[in-house]
């Protein structure tokens, strides 16, 4: 078992792209953003209830920005400005009640105040992951990503930078995918040693979270967990965006081409 004083941090990164969730609300009214956040709160409470030294952070990843839902800035600085909202009326453990209330308040703020520009249905995960890495520098941490919308192809390089930084710090990245498979997250889980799971039934999100993603890395070796997915590591050539098995790599700028040419078009 880990030593008593070591803090274990779980960072949950939630994809709250309003366009995707709006469409989802019309497709399947029984699984909405509120239900998803309920499941996340259950997961967060369970994690904090496991040991005294477990810590939690929740980041919401919006279209153009990412926000910390929990802990809020005033809370982390030490002063307990949340006295008004922390009185739990049903005898719940104070920390869990505070966490739930803060998450609910912040997500309401974010969804009402953030403007949505454009109608893109993809989210920028790399920024939220980068913030999660900076947040968890002093303690042993792991990241759980709950992804709803599709990948954004523009952020490949930043995403890979974040993944390598996580691998260097021994931070696991787990992924729980609601809708469509994400190649980037599959690579992230493979490189950092985390778990990737695409959920067959969205309404049972809380069950999947508690069963698969609640145990931390030391306990996972003793459990039978979903098999790792087959990750396609083939590179895409820069000229046609096809996946190739044998290609030509420029020695200066490392761009990949499918046909040999004496001049590299990038440099």
């Amino acid at each position: 078992m880990a030593s008593e004083d070591e803090l274990n941090l779980l960072v949950i990164v939630v994809d709250v792209n309003p366009i995707w969730w709006g469409q989802q609300g019309q497709r399947e009214p029984e699984f909405t953003l509120c239900k998803c956040l309920d499941a996340i709160m259950v997961m967060g409470n369970s994690h904090m209830a496991m040991t005294r030294t477990n810590r939690l952070a929740v980041i919401a990843s919006h279209c153009q920005d990412s926000h910390f839902l929990y802990p809020s800035k005033t809370w982390k600085s030490g002063d307990s400005g949340g006295d008004e909202i922390s009185s739990s009326r049903d005898g719940k453990y104070e920390l869990l009640a505070v966490a739930n209330n803060l998450i609910a308040e912040e997500i309401k703020n974010i969804m009402t105040k953030t403007e949505v520009t454009g109608n893109s249905t993809d989210t920028l995960m790399a920024g939220s992951l980068a913030k999660a890495l900076c947040f968890g520098q002093e303690m042993k941490s792991r990241i759980l990503v709950i992804k709803a919308a599709d990948d954004c192809a523009l952020q490949y390089m930043n995403f890979m930078n974040v993944i390598f930084a996580a691998q260097k710090q021994n931070i696991l990245i787990d992924a729980c995918v609601l809708d469509s498979d994400s190649g980037l997250l599959q690579q992230a889980c493979d490189i950092t040693g985390g778990l990737y799971l695409k959920i067959p039934q969205k309404v049972a999100l809380a069950q999947y979270l508690l069963w698969v993603f609640l145990p931390d890395s030391e306990q996972r070796s003793q459990l039978v967990l979903p098999q790792p997915a087959h990750v396609d590591y083939r590179a895409a050539c820069f000229c046609h965006r096809n996946l190739i098995e044998i290609g030509y790599v420029c020695s200066v700028c490392l761009s990949i081409f499918c046909n040999f040419s004496p001049i590299c078009t990038t440099c």
Binding site: K76, K131, N158, F164, C250, S251, F260, P262, C264
Partner: protein, 403 residues
């Protein structure tokens, strides 16, 4: 051979040497420390610590071509002077330990490069490991070498010519480097080393030296003529710093050709016993492995000849194709698009926004760092982390137009 005193000399056509430290005037080192009103040195000590932390954020080589595919030979001196105990427990053990860390870091930053190790003692040189892209073999060899005896004198000429024998066959677009860790003050050479230096220059090999004892004239000439760097260590932590300087890719010399290299991207097949068609097979990388044959189910299959390997990157023994995976190339991207250094501001300008935008912590340092592109504010710890590991600003990557 007279010493030249700094930039006023014009007798030789090479760049003038720096003035030696004993030739300068007195340094009043006590003036660096300043006491505040109560007589305590705390502020000065904190300032010194802060400056040493900041030193780690190095200059970026923007707009300079870097040599990504590197062939580096490390020559380790195993002569009698390595038994000296000024590095604990002795120089050899300390050097080998630091080399293991160097190899790990090297392959982390340069995944498609290769390293070979040469040792020199008893006036001869021999290869400890061949040029290879897999760190495990090198680390195993380094661990075994701790028990070897340090005897005799090193031979710079022999070790350099041994390295040249392999390096001269390397293709022109890769960088050819030699790093020498020299602790002895003498070298025993069978022929004129200045001729060898001319050969090195013509083969475009860059030689750098890390000295463990003192500056040696022939090393100064060697490194200056080939374009490398020469440093002498002060203590063990300085040694580590100097080694880590060689991890980042050096600027490519203007004469290196650039070309497209043919590489394979094999798929990783993960098969379990329940699959119908799966057959266990030997991995090609285990052909000369003395630990016994290993039949495994999954692995990487070379797209050209279907030979199996367990790890990447590797050069296929059957068909000669270099096999890498896309993340290996992605690891080197941050050298090509380095992150700009953040601008330092005094913290008093930011009364309202008292929180670091990356870690949400309070800004406690007296200086804060702002990204020049998005003007978000970060604390000192996050700035260090961003520049050393992350290589991208957490707020800039929210901008959709970034690649």
């Amino acid at each position: 051979m007279a010493y030249r005193l700094g930039p006023h000399s014009d007798t030789m056509d090479e760049e003038p040497e720096r003035a030696k430290r004993w030739e300068g005037g007195y340094e009043r080192t006590w003036e660096v420390l300043k006491e505040d009103e109560s007589g305590s040195l705390k502020a000065t000590v904190e300032e010194i610590l802060y400056q040493s932390k900041r030193k780690r954020v190095t200059q970026s080589h923007a707009q300079v071509r870097l040599g990504m595919m590197r062939h580096l030979y490390v020559v380790i001196d195993c002569s009698r002077s390595m038994e000296d105990q000024d590095l604990k427990p002795n120089r050899l053990t300390s050097t080998l330990k630091l080399m293991e860390g160097f190899i790990d870091e090297y392959f982390d930053q340069n995944p498609i490069s290769q390293v070979g190790i040469i040792t020199t003692k008893n006036k001869r040189a021999e290869k400890l490991t061949e040029l290879a892209g897999n760190p495990k073999k090198h680390i195993a060899a380094l661990k075994k070498a701790v028990d070897s005896s340090c005897v005799g004198e090193p031979s710079l000429y022999n070790s350099l010519s041994l390295a040249i024998q392999t390096l001269k066959h390397m293709p022109g677009h890769t960088s050819r480097e030699i790093l020498i860790i020299l602790s002895s003050l003498t070298t025993c050479d069978p022929a004129n080393i200045y001729e060898l230096i001319k050969t090195l220059k013509s083969l475009k090999v860059r030689v750098s030296v890390i000295g463990l004892s003192a500056e040696v004239r022939v090393c100064t000439v060697l490194t200056r003529d080939t374009g490398g760097s020469y440093h002498v260590i002060l203590d063990e932590s300085h040694f580590k710093e100097l080694l880590m300087l060689h991890v980042t890719p050096p600027p490519a010399s203007f004469s290196s050709e650039s070309s497209l290299i043919r590489m394979g991207f094999p798929q990783h097949s993960v098969a379990s016993l329940s699959d119908q068609d799966v057959k266990p097979s030997f991995s090609m990388s285990h052909l000369d492995y003395s630990g016994g044959p290993a039949l495994t189910l999954g692995g990487y299959f070379c797209p050209q000849c279907q030979a199996k390997y367990t790890e990447l990157p590797v050069e296929c023994k059957v068909c000669g194709l270099t096999l890498v995976s896309a993340p290996h190339l992605a690891r080197s991207f941050h050298h090509l698009f380095p992150l700009q250094a953040f601008i330092e501001h005094p913290a008093d300008n930011y009364h309202l926004n008292r929180f670091c935008q990356a870690c949400q912590g309070q800004l406690k340092d007296k200086n804060v760092f702002a990204c020049p592109l998005c003007c978000s504010v970060f604390c000192g710890e996050c700035d260090l982390f961003i520049h050393e590991s992350l290589h991208c600003c957490p707020c800039c990557i929210h901008n959709r137009t970034a690649t």
